[in-house]
Symmetry: C2
Subunit: 250 residues, 2 copies
DNA sequence: CGGCGAGTTGATCATAGTCAAGATCTGTGG
DNA sequence: CCACAGATCTTGACTATGATCAACTCGCCG
């Protein structure tokens, strides 16, 4: 899918728009060279495309360059739980890389631009570029952190707290990668997606958003979120504002 | 804490009782030698000891050799969510190894026997033994898998389903490492712990256990679980019986 | 203009939470 | 060995949060 001779040019291009964001760590040339080898191509997907599916073993791994997706699981009767939101810089497919199969699905909620790696080369990465292997573990630890936060949100917070928390975190992450401004954000997800993330019904999610609107804290209309009172939102969410942390990008 | 000269003997002893279990992958001698170097000692803890604490950065990482613990998070007002149950073979402290701090706490629910590693040597592991680095990612992917299952359980299953699911999984894991028999298990956790894991109140958890008892599916009395009808339990949990998979042990 | 996906709102219902009291178990000291 | 205290488990009565059902609006696109 690519020729070695051109790698010098491509190296600087790998995940180019993302690598310029200040929240991502710089990599050494040798590591970028390796990633160029590891990379099998780029993929552009439509909204609603399936990226990986629960129970299957994708031959590919992905780094998200642009767009947004949801990770989710479903029960046999159709009940769905959104496990997490996927934004640029996120790595998709670790489970299928190390285990037999994925244990959740990932679906694109906007048009997406992905960097594609070959699952078969995955172990090479640990052999040849230990720093990159370490980075994979870093990303996995971050995912574990998000999942833990998500779990206490669904298990122990009220509907109002859940929404405030989820929107704070999502907004912060989106801002870090340049997908949102200080006060506004174009929502790639529907209220149904949010309800499925928070373990609430759509109706109750909507009513709770209504309460936040009445409280003049935030509004979510026409796929657009406006945060009117960030302090209050953080207070309801029981969160401190945190500066973005430097993170690796594979 | 240990002398190099004795490593040949210790190598065969590292995590000895665990390494004999059929569910753990064998390691190469070179890898075992490395682990001996990496290891700084063993730790015996009392019940109710804190192993790591949310918001702090432990200088140590651990592999559980014996005993059981809970991973949990708390909100400021005391609400608690159990993120997961920790059993022998599990690795504790990945977050503090790669990030600044732990994002959850881990507390011993029985007396415990831990293998202790030094956080500072962690990156060495990726440099010198890529297979072990890969194994860390494997364990992280497994944890992510458990957390995803846990999340759909708390977010979308009824109280009865939650209990059935949690007990099936816990029993299966305990059996894999020799802590339970086919039909019984000594519970290291209280019903309060289980309630906090499932996002339920203690009272409702107890009443739901009462229903399972009346249905002749299982009983949980005096720290002991008896499974009377495994098929029905799996059915309520919407689970298939799965054979234990081979997994790495660090 | 019509149809569909998404969002909004009200009415009613049910699951699970809270409060309260008592039973049982476990470990400790006399 | 027993008595006691604290932790854990059990059960009933009442409450509340959020689910379900239903109808309607809005914006968008063919």
């Amino acid at each position: 899918m690519r020729k070695n001779g051109t790698s010098r040019i491509r190296v600087t291009c790998h995940a180019c728009p993302l690598r310029l964001k200040p929240c991502f760590e710089r990599l050494e040339d040798a590591e970028l060279d390796f990633l160029e080898q590891f990379k099998t191509g780029e993929l552009f997907l439509e909204r609603d495309s399936q990226i990986v599916s629960e129970g299957t073993s994708s031959p590919h791994l992905f780094t998200v360059l642009e767009g947004a997706a949801v990770r989710y699981k479903t029960l046999e009767d159709g009940r769905r739980q959104v496990i997490g939101f996927v934004l640029p810089g996120d790595f998709v497919g670790l489970q299928s890389a190390v285990m037999e199969e994925m244990h959740h699905s990932v679906a694109a909620m906007t048009a997406m631009h992905l960097c594609v790696f070959n699952r078969n080369d995955f172990y090479q990465l640990y052999r040849e570029q230990p720093k990159l292997g370490y980075n994979i573990s870093w990303l996995a630890a971050r995912e574990e952190h998000f999942l833990g936060d998500h779990l206490i949100t669904v298990g122990r917070r009220s509907a109002l707290e859940r929404l405030a928390f989820a929107i704070c975190r999502l907004h912060q992450r989106a801002r870090d990668v340049g997908m949102a401004t200080e006060r506004t954000m174009d929502m790639p997800f529907t209220q149904q997606d949010m309800a499925d993330a928070l373990g609430l019904s759509l109706v109750h999610t909507n009513k709770t958003l209504g309460r936040l609107r009445t409280m003049q804290v935030m509004s979510w209309h026409a796929r657009r979120i406006e945060i009117h009172d960030r302090g209050k939102l953080l207070e309801i969410a029981n969160l401190e504002p945190e500066p973005p942390t430097l993170r690796p990008l594979i």
